[in-house]
């Protein structure tokens, strides 16, 4: 964990509103695991005040990647960075996906920008297990396949792939998608994760959820990011105990 000054190497537009940033970050690149994240100081003044959390999307040698959509002020500033710009980044933060176990199929379920952590996970798992990716987006402008393998797409308006949510797509194909050795790795909006939690329980499949919530610090000192434990009457912290949780571990 470090507060590293990373240097922008490229900034690519993947979709009208979705960007991929590559930046030199030797220390973070050497430590990070899939679905860990960084807390980014997007400007070099006090506006906006808080850092912004982003998953590390991919790693290549000394470089890390972030994928983001322009949302509000913070991501707008990020989208206007230029090559050579320095950015202060805290990372890697949190716990990534847990794949150091026996399984033979990684079923990736991503909604919207929830695809962000999966290029990196795909790279790490590609030679080890079968990978199937289901990704959902509002419409085709919100679909990003960068770095994924075996991708099926669902869009709310049907402008690309299956018409419906990614959960509908999963439900429709669950027989062929899930077997004994499958682990679901998922990331996306909370309503999607909630539905998936139910799906995993009903279908008795291991499911890891990469969760999101408002954060101030990103490393456990503000207690701003609680998620309720399902086993004890207490809160876990998304930034420190997560962002990845077993779907049985938390109440969303």
């Amino acid at each position: 964990m470090i507060n590293e000054k990373i240097i922008v190497q490229s900034l690519e537009k993947l979709q009208p509103n979705i960007y991929l940033m590559k930046a030199k970050a030797p220390v973070i690149a050497s430590q990070v695991k899939p679905s860990q994240f960084c807390n980014i100081k997007v400007s070099d003044n006090d506006f906006p005040l808080l850092r912004r959390p982003f998953s590390v999307c991919d790693v290549q040698g000394d470089s890390i990647f972030f994928m983001f959509d322009v949302h509000g002020e913070g991501t707008r500033i990020l989208s206007e960075k230029m090559i050579g710009d320095e950015i202060e980044v805290l990372g890697p933060l949190g716990n990534g996906f847990n794949y150091n176990k026996k399984f033979n199929k990684a079923l990736i379920i991503a909604g919207g920008l929830g695809v962000a952590p999966f290029p990196f996970l795909t790279k790490v798992l590609i030679d080890k297990v079968e990978i199937v990716s289901l990704i959902g987006g509002r419409n085709k402008n919100y679909v990003v396949k960068y770095g994924l393998k075996n991708v099926s797409v669902a869009t709310d308006d049907g402008s690309e792939g299956y018409k419906g949510t990614v959960l509908d797509l999963l439900e429709a194909n669950k027989e062929s998608l899930i077997d004994d050795g499958t682990i679901i790795f998922s990331c996306g909006p909370t309503p999607m994760l909630k539905a998936l939690q139910k799906f995993a329980e009903q279908n008795n499949v291991e499911c890891q959820l990469s969760t999101e919530c408002a954060m101030a610090c990103g490393f456990g000192i503000c207690q701003g990011c609680p998620v309720h434990s399902s086993t004890e009457d207490k809160y876990l912290l998304v930034c420190k105990d997560g962002p990845v949780f077993d779907s049985k571990e938390i109440v969303l």
């Binding site: 006090d46 005040l49 101030a216 990011c225 609680p226």
Partner: protein, 307 residues
């Protein structure tokens, strides 16, 4: 030029420098120690501890606002027992001065916590967070009630000889009256300020952005208010003041000391720059050099008001 003297005194407690980490913004020190050397910091004030553990509020607990943030953590903490058993050992290791912040819902609970912690050598002093609801009085805040603040100070004073700092609420008309009562009842210092009450709504759902409806506003947005409160106390009551509210850098720290603060605390900035404390200490040294003063104490309450 000789080394700059950054030492300051709060009652009988001498701090190696006036930069403190504010309660609730560094937990119990362990996480932030990965990013910064806590042994260099003047003192750490722990997250508010209460007699029993508290779960805290459901999400959403925080939201960003213009140059600030609202939080309603709900005083989530491990409780006195776990604090003593598990957190103090780590705090011991880091070789910083530890001040324990206490939150409670009754005067008896304040007293009970102080009594227990008085035995812990690592705890060098207490900061009493009076911005808590008084359960006996139907949830009204202690911090708004002069009599309650006086009573709490008196009763806590009776059970410890360690320095007591009363952390004042800014949500009152005349904060100096509260500082006065704290002083009269034996407090060694006051901290000013805790957060301002604020809220925010989602305009599409009509729901408050934080579950608790209202939260505490912190960050640069509140700095002018915090400075005015420090100045008001400094002009009216003779008690050491620890200034807190919106400090982001050494310049802000100097501004608070000029306004009357003997020491300062940093809160929100720790989330953004975990090394802010150390940078502020360095900045204070350089400021003294530029001003050609050898002791930082010279600037405390050095404000020059128009006559």
């Amino acid at each position: 030029m000789s080394e700059i003297d950054l030492q300051v005194k709060l009652g009988n407690l001498t701090l190696k420098n006036p930069v403190l980490l504010a309660s609730g913004t560094v937990g119990y020190g362990n996480e932030i120690s990965q990013f910064t050397d806590l042994s260099k910091i003047g003192a750490i004030i722990t997250k508010s501890v209460s007699l029993k553990p508290r779960k805290g509020n459901p999400p959403q607990r925080i939201v960003e606002t213009a140059s600030g943030m609202l939080n309603a953590i709900g005083l989530a903490n491990v409780g006195l027992e776990v604090f003593v058993k598990e957190k103090i050992p780590f705090l011991k290791e880091i070789q910083s001065t530890i001040i324990c912040n206490i939150a409670a819902s009754s005067i008896e609970e304040y007293v009970e916590c102080t009594k227990v912690l008085d035995h812990e050598d690592e705890i060098k002093g207490f900061e009493i967070n009076v911005s808590c609801p008084n359960v006996k009085e139907g949830g009204l805040e202690f911090g708004n009630n002069l009599t309650a603040v006086g009573k709490i100070t008196e009763k806590v004073r009776a059970v410890t000889n360690k320095p007591i700092i009363i952390k004042l609420s800014p949500n009152v008309a005349r904060i100096s009256e509260f500082a006065k009562v704290a002083k009269d009842e034996g407090a060694d210092a006051v901290s000013a300020i805790n957060t301002l009450v604020g809220t925010a709504f989602d305009i599409w759902t009509g729901k408050p952005k934080i579950y608790n409806v209202t939260g505490g506003l912190s960050g640069p947005a509140i700095k002018p208010v915090a400075l005015a409160k420090v100045l008001e106390i400094s002009r009216n009551v003779d008690i050491p003041i620890i200034g807190v509210g919106g400090i982001m850098n050494w310049k802000d720290a100097v501004e608070f000391m000029i306004a009357g603060a003997t020491a300062i605390q940093i809160g929100t900035v720790n989330f953004i720059n975990p090394q802010a404390g150390i940078e502020i200490i360095e900045g204070l040294k350089n400021y003294c050099k530029q001003k050609e003063i050898t002791s930082l104490a010279e600037i405390i309450a050095s404000y020059k008001l128009p006559s």
